[in-house]
Symmetry: C3
């Protein structure tokens, strides 16, 4: 797989400065790219590296065009162009079709043409696997599941009965789709399990990271819309809804029945508490706990600042006793209001 820089520009946009005939085989970093590789400058902080790079060509914004004499692909969004070039040079692998003799396929499961099911995988009754889908080694797909065309489940994914995953999904190892939601009613100190009767419905073009868990709904389905991107070790509780093209970073969690809008981003380790609604275009910073619904687009943050331990310790002692500090201010206000006539 190789393209001239000119051919890349014709396919993906951007303007070539310098030798358009140079052949590009792979992307690389400014620091380590060599012959046949194209690097990119997406952050002006790294401008200094442009001079020293040994890349064959570079992707730059117009403002950095003059900083290099290498063949350049000049464009408005270098990082987006890098993504496009990388995708062009590294197309998604298509599976070698076939069902491994050591896979276990229920008699009435339907495996479409061009799909691959690897050794040790199991596909239960009534499940359909779409054309060109790729079910990795040791995956377990419960009964009545639908996996869309060209979706790939890496080894060791579990999809419980009745869940649906759309087309072109990428599901990484260790992801668990459709385990029971955490639903219990308290009966005099003991917990009674509430059967989790809903499923999980996942749209098209969704990516699900390693070790991420998405619980089935209590009565109706948990819902992940098209184009959602979930990083590793995310927990999505039962009956959550995640709007299209929302991206959630690692170790974040949505508690049961939380609804997150479209085109949102949620930072690493953040939590949206249960039954809340977040509107479209909301950006939640890392390590932030959302404790009430958000109706306005914008960025929301709630992380507590770190410091050297001694400074943190002094400061946090004051935080613990903020009510006392406020009382002292109130006393000062009272004394000023009283005209300072009283003895201390």
């Amino acid at each position: 797989m190789a393209f001239t820089l000119g051919e890349i520009a014709r396919r993906l946009g951007g303007r070539v400065a310098g030798d358009a005939a140079i052949l590009i085989r792979q992307v690389g970093t400014l620091e380590h790219a060599g012959p046949g590789q194209i690097a990119f400058l997406a952050n002006s902080r790294y401008r200094g590296r442009l001079a020293a790079t040994r890349a064959a060509a570079v992707i730059v914004g117009a403002d950095s065009e003059s900083l290099s004499t290498l063949p350049r692909l000049v464009c408005e969004e270098p990082y987006l162009m890098y993504a496009r070039v990388a995708a062009l040079l590294n197309p998604r692998a298509a599976p070698v079709p076939g069902i491994d003799p050591q896979a276990r396929i229920a008699a009435d499961a339907r495996i479409a043409e061009g799909a691959r099911v690897e050794q040790g995988a199991s596909v239960e009754a009534g499940t359909t696997i779409g054309a060109g889908a790729w079910i990795g080694a040791g995956c377990h797909i419960g009964g009545g599941v639908a996996i869309g065309e060209h979706s790939r489940l890496h080894p060791g994914v579990v999809v419980y009965r009745g869940c649906r995953i759309g087309a072109r999904a990428i599901v990484h190892s260790g992801a668990i789709i459709g385990a029971d939601g955490f639903g219990f009613a308290n009966d005099g100190g003991r917990w009674i399990k509430i059967p989790q009767l809903g499923g999980v419905t996942i749209g098209d073009d969704v990516e699900i990271g390693a070790g991420t868990t998405i619980d089935r709904g209590a009565i109706e389905d948990t819902l992940i819309e098209d184009g959602v991107k979930l990083d590793n070790q995310i927990q999505i509780g039962h009956n959550c809804q995640v709007g299209a093209h929302t991206a959630i970073a690692g170790c974040a969690g949505l508690a049961g029945s939380a609804r997150v809008g479209r085109r949102c981003t949620i930072g690493a380790g953040s939590i949206v508490l249960g039954h809340l609604t977040i509107c479209d275009d909301v950006h939640i910073s890392a390590d932030t706990v959302i404790t009430k619904s958000i109706a306005r687009p914008g960025t929301y943050t709630g992380l507590y600042p770190f410091a050297g331990h001694a400074a943190w310790s002094r400061n946090t002692a004051l935080v613990r006793h903020l009510a006392k500090l406020e009382a002292r201010v109130r006393e000062l206000e009272r004394r000023l209001a009283a005209g300072f006539t009283e003895p201390r």
Copy 2:
């Protein structure tokens, strides 16, 4: 599986108002339930939905009885009744007994009658699987393990050697029971591994969520008592003890040797630090870090509030410099005490 409303009341309690002969096959939500389905009103916030519901019957408290003319099951705790009705209509699935020819069972492992071991599962030497237990596809059960009667391990669970799980457990996919605790001693900048010689002992009626990990003890066992409910992606460190009927929400963690009492609840993402003791009937809110032992029942919280990013930023800058603010208050106090005679 179907019951008349009258039959449900006879079995589970509650009083019928309206047609007791109506046949109920399933639970549903007020919004989407249809013929044959019973919905419930557990939160007065959703009263408005009662008028519009197309459910066959509804579960309500006495205070909401007059809000509907549908057949009603009137009771004190509608949510608990919903749980009971749902469990009645959706009994736990019993496994089709049998050991799959593609399961690997050690010669001296004992698989009791009525148990099921699915394809790709392995059960090592000296392990006993109780009557009616269900070991899902690809589970790995180490040697010397005991799994109690009617316990179900969903596909892909790993139980390390020597661990014990009681009766009627539900263990979801990706749960790992008995991996080594995180025990190392520092030897001049390098870590020496401390062999983890204890196991994990889990009582009866415990549910363990997808991706949850419970480490084996260093010398003695990690202990999970009867009726404990653990959500997904929880981490239980070595030698922890979790008291009976305690429920822990997703992504929470207990550091090594933490002891949590009975009937506690721990919110999502919270952490109990190592070697602490939490007494019975303690409720820990979401995203709270417990840094010292708790000896009194009650609710404890430690989450930092979120805000719009600009407001958070201003506010958090003040938090960082709270010591300065306190110094300003002290200076004001000093000046008032001094009688304001000094020049500024």
Copy 3:
């Protein structure tokens, strides 16, 4: 496996007080150790237990030597000595060599002598498994991987193509090495996947906990140096670097391209944000989010204090409105500066 106390001291150091001929077979706790077991006192808080212990011998510091008449191993660091004694008495299990007939090994994979590959495991093309390595049941090892000598992968580990793990690694069940990093570029509201072309390189003597995920790099490798110890459910983003002999506690996370130095410790649930650099010998407390690079060794903390819910609630309301409190202090300062002449 048994040694006299004298033999232990000859091998591991320390000085024997009392009967050096007593035979020691195992370690135990002061509370529960019995005949043949050696207990240890590492924390003076537990001194009271020394008198009552039924252990055969005890490991103590010189300051506690006189507190017991049992055979004693007297040393400077009792906890470290306990680790050494436990390791001596419980040497790492060597695998029974052999490739299970139900493992799937690619024709050109190389499995060195003395290695063991268990049932249901798969090893893809071009992969090498070192001498004495132990690949547990159901592990999946992608193509072009290298696993070092005497490394052990517990059942159900996944290593994606092209990753390298050094010698003597211990990788616990559910760990996922080399899944795609979370790399996307936003194209007018939709996410374009950036192919993750790097791998993961892991040094020697690394331990990786259950459910921990280490993503492959975007262009170059994610790097885990020698002697690193990772607890359970840790997330390491793409292109992170973790310096030698650093230990990270459970549920912590490093966002993409974070670099952590050597001999650092990171507490449970803490997060280092992306593209930051932490120097050597930094200790990060539990539940701390590192939001900027750290260039000085030391301890850093950022956890928000918990309290009883009512106290937290009052206090946190003040935190939310700290800007108002500061304004009140400023107003007081202004009035004092103005000489209090104005009417209130």
